[in-house]
């Protein structure tokens, strides 16, 4: 049995199965019209993609960690985050409970 890696969810078959509907919805956000439709009526859009209650609540909460828990894959979640103008540094800060400035500084100091 492999040791879990702290703070890390391996996106494996179990996660892939769990997250299919959520990731499929996020995949649709490659299209600008779909992004607009989501913003216009989020409930209807999530219903159309058959999100589970857990996934719907996670999207509603805007919590990336909750969305990962619900099977979301970060590359797909990044497309959802993009709708709100958030980049991977913003979502990195959110997941680690840091301010965006502190998160960026941490990365800068890792390179120093």
């Amino acid at each position: 049995m492999q040791q879990d890696i702290a703070g890390t969810t391996i996106f494996d078959g179990a996660q892939a199965q769990k997250g299919l509907a959520l990731n499929r919805m996020c995949f649709s956000f490659n299209n600008a019209e779909n992004r607009a439709a989501f913003l216009k009526d989020e409930d209807a859009y999530c219903r159309k993609y058959g999100l589970s209650d857990e996934q719907r609540a996670a999207v509603k909460s805007r919590s990336v960690l909750n969305m990962i828990e619900a099977g979301g894959n970060v590359y797909y979640l990044a497309k959802l985050a993009g709708i709100f103008g958030l980049n991977v540094q913003d979502i990195g800060a959110q997941q680690t409970g840091m301010s965006v400035e502190a998160f960026k500084s941490k990365l800068l100091s890792a390179g120093a």
Partner: protein, 291 residues
């Protein structure tokens, strides 16, 4: 016969596309990264490759998780990109060398690499950003590209991922296929992505300078030493998305001659990523007899 002139490794972080679009290459944040390409540009001008074989991973543009190949090869005369949903500009199409693609496909399958063949394939930022970094003037103009590409896509997203050893072998098989290609082509091989980074979870922002240095040291002359790392170990040491190093292993495998490092640039951070830019020379192990 085709000649493998060498290899290039580069990150492909989407925000680089934004920095290029906004002309921020000389900003203090970006300069240490972009200046790593000065050498790449000189080397490309010197070696003049006709084709680039680009090992990369798709991030949900051409492939979705419902039908996801482990290895896929483009076999098209042109590769378009499209909106990826995170606000980077869509790049211009890149020409492909479909004849070479089919030669690679034929030899790979004969070599027991049962690849997915893609006559239509969208290329995402993991190809378009390296193209813009390597050939900036072609990427930003209407002038013809100086190269054609063969994109080789490796699943680094949905586990189980192919092993480090398997990707090295894939590259070797492609290297041998290139060497038997009857046309007089000059070929560069490119591995994109990495190095250490993690976007997801409470470990987001993880980078590992020491492990990256070890990878960059070993990949030149001892890639077999890296091939011993399991995917689980790779995730632990280089982060969830650091596994893009698989693309580098394949690139290294395709360098079938005597390999040496000509240039290395390593910089933290580009967005959430430890970014490396390398150029490898590839000298054919045995000089070919004059025709």
């Amino acid at each position: 016969m085709a000649t493998i002139v060498g290899g290039i490794g580069t990150t492909h972080v989407p925000s680089i596309g934004k920095a290029i679009a906004e002309g921020r290459q000389s900003d203090p944040y970006w300069k240490p990264f972009f200046r790593g390409f000065d050498y790449v540009h000189d080397w490309l001008a010197r070696t003049e490759p006709d084709v680039a074989v680009v090992f990369y991973n798709d991030h949900g543009l051409n492939f979705f998780l419902d039908k996801l190949p482990t290895f896929a090869i483009g076999a098209s005369g042109e590769y378009r990109s499209e909106d990826e949903g995170w606000g980077i500009p869509v790049s211009r199409p890149v020409p492909g060398d479909a004849d070479l693609s089919w030669h690679l496909i034929n030899t790979l399958v004969a070599d027991e690499f049962d690849v997915t063949m893609c006559q239509d394939m969208l290329i995402d930022h993991a190809v378009t950003i390296p193209m813009a970094l390597m050939w900036p003037s072609a990427a930003s103009s209407d002038r013809p590209w100086p190269v054609k590409i063969v994109p080789v896509e490796i699943n680094t997203v949905q586990h189980p991922l192919p092993s480090m050893a398997r990707c090295l072998k894939l590259g070797r098989s492609i290297g041998r296929a290139l060497e038997t290609y009857p046309r007089d082509l000059r070929v560069a091989v490119v591995g994109t992505g990495g190095l250490s980074h993690q976007l997801d979870g409470t470990r987001a922002g993880f980078v590992n300078k020491d492990f990256d240095a070890l990878c960059l040291d070993k990949i030149v002359a001892e890639p077999e030493a890296l091939a011993r790392y399991s995917i689980h170990e790779l995730v632990e040491l280089s982060g969830s998305q650091g596994v893009e190093f698989l693309n580098w292993m394949a690139m290294r495998g395709a360098l079938t001659g005597r390999v040496s490092e000509l240039n290395r640039n390593y910089h933290i951070p580009v967005s959430n990523t430890a970014a490396a830019t390398v150029v490898y020379d590839n000298q054919a192990a045995v000089e070919r007899k004059a025709a």
